[in-house]
Symmetry: C2
Subunit: 202 residues, 2 copies
DNA sequence: CAAATAAACGGAGGCGCCTCCGATTAAACT
DNA sequence: AGTTTAATCGGAGGCGCCTCCGTTTATTTG
C-alpha cells in the first residue's frame, strides 16, 4: 500500500525528529540534548563532548552516532531553545497581564542570548553553512514579540507609539553590550528600564 | 627624507617581522613558514601541525612558540604569498613582454587562489577577526593587475576597452568554479581563453 | 515465552592539540 | 677563549576528537 501517507499516530505538529528511534535510543538522545542545553551556556560550545556524554551517562560513541559533528548538536540545542522561547510567549500571554508577560519574555530572551555568547565559532560556522536556521529563528522571535507588544498596547498597558522594530532594535543593542561578568545583570537592568519607559508614556 | 625616521639599515619595505630573533630562532621560524607554505596548499590548513613541525625538523613546542594558534601561521603564510604575488607582477613586467607578463601573472594568481581552497574554515575565522588583512591584500592585487594591464594596453599588446574591474571580475568568476579534481586545469584554460580574447580585439 | 534479528551501545585505540619545563645553545661580557 | 645569561629548543604528558567493532538489548516473529 504505497498510495497514501504512511499512517502514523504521531502528529507532525511539534516537529520532533520524524525518524523512528528505538526506545533506548530516543532516551539517550534526549538526555544528551538536555545535558548539552545546560552545559553549552555554562562552558561554551567548545566544551568537551566527552564530558557531555559522560554527564548524560552514555558512551562517546553514542553521542557521535546521534550527532555526527559538534555543529549538529549545537544546532539541535539552538532550535529547541528557539522553539521553547516562542512557546513561552504564548504561555506568558495567558498567565500574566500583558505588560508583565512582555517583560518576562524579554528577560528570558536575554537569558537565551546569553547562551549564545561564547558559541561564536561553532555558531558562525553554522550561520554560514545553514543560514535558513537563522532566518527562521529570527522570524519566529519577531512574531512572538510582535504579538506580545500588540496585546499589551491594545489593552492599554503600554504606550502605543512604539512598534516591534523599535523594541527589537532596543533588544539588539543589548546584545551588543561588550562581554563582561556583569553582562547579564546589566542587560536585565536595561530591560527594566525599557519596560518602565514603555509603561510610562502610555 | 624626513628627520624622524629611526635610522636602521633594514629597509622597512619588505616588512619582515621587526622583532629581533636569535639566529636559531629565525632559522626555525623561516623553515616552519616555508614548510607550511608547501603543505597548506596540498593538504589544506587543517593539516596536523605536528606534521609541519616534523617536516621542518623542529619540535612541536617550537612551532607553538612562534605561532600560538593555527590562524597565526595561516595568516603569515597568506601574507607572505600575497607579497610575493605583488612582487612577481613587478618582476614579470621587467622580464617579459607586457602580454606575456600579464598572462603569467594571472596563472600564478590562479595557483595562489588554489592555495586558498580548503582553507575555508581557518580563513573565515581570520576574515572576521582581522578583516584589514583582506582589504589590504585585495587592494595590492588590484594594484598589481592594474599596472600590468595598463602597460600591456598602452603598448598595444592587448585591447584597451577592458578595464581592471572587468578582468578582476573574470578572475573572480574563475574562483567560483566548483571544486573538483580538474579545477586547476580548467582555470588555467580559462586564463588562456581570456588572454586570447584580450589579444584578439586589440 | 523463546528465538531471531536488527539496532544501538560504549569504550578502547590512534591521532592531534597544546602546555610545561629541564636541557641546550646563541650571544654578551670579561 | 671561557663564563654567564637569557633566549630558545623540543618532547613528554594530559586531554579531547573521532572511528571502529564486539557486545548488549529492544523489538519482531513463530
Amino acid at each position: 500500500m504505497d498510495s497514501a501517507e504512511p499512517k502514523t499516530t504521531e502528529t507532525a505538529a511539534t516537529a520532533a525528529e520524524p525518524t523512528k528511534l528505538r526506545a533506548d535510543a530516543r532516551r539517550n538522545r534526549d538526555k544528551l540534548i538536555e545535558v548539552a542545553a545546560v552545559v553549552f551556556p555554562q562552558k561554551g560550545v567548545e566544551t568537551s563532548l566527552e564530558d557531555i556524554a559522560r554527564q548524560a551517562g552514555v558512551g562517546i560513541g553514542t553521542l557521535y552516532r546521534h550527532f555526527p559533528t559538534r555543529e549538529h548538536l549545537v544546532e539541535v540545542v539552538y532550535r529547541r531553545e528557539l522553539e521553547s522561547l516562542a512557546a513561552a510567549a504564548r504561555e506568558l500571554a495567558e498567565k500574566h497581564s500583558p505588560d508583565v508577560a512582555l517583560e518576562e519574555w524579554m528577560r528570558r530572551f536575554v537569558g537565551y542570548i546569553a547562551t549564545k555568547r561564547g558559541m561564536s565559532n561553532s555558531l558562525r560556522i553554522l550561520m554560514t553553512s545553514n543560514s535558513s536556521l537563522f532566518a527562521e529563528g529570527f522570524g519566529n522571535m519577531r512574531g512572538a514579540l510582535d504579538s506580545l507588544l500588540k496585546t499589551a498596547s491594545q489593552q492599554g498597558y503600554i504606550r502605543s507609539d512604539m512598534d516591534t522594530a523599535d523594541v527589537m532594535h532596543a533588544l539588539a543593542s543589548i546584545y551588543s553590550i561588550p562581554d563582561s561578568p556583569e553582562w547579564r545583570d546589566r542587560s536585565l537592568r536595561l530591560i527594566g528600564l525599557l519596560m518602565d519607559g514603555l509603561r510610562a508614556g502610555k
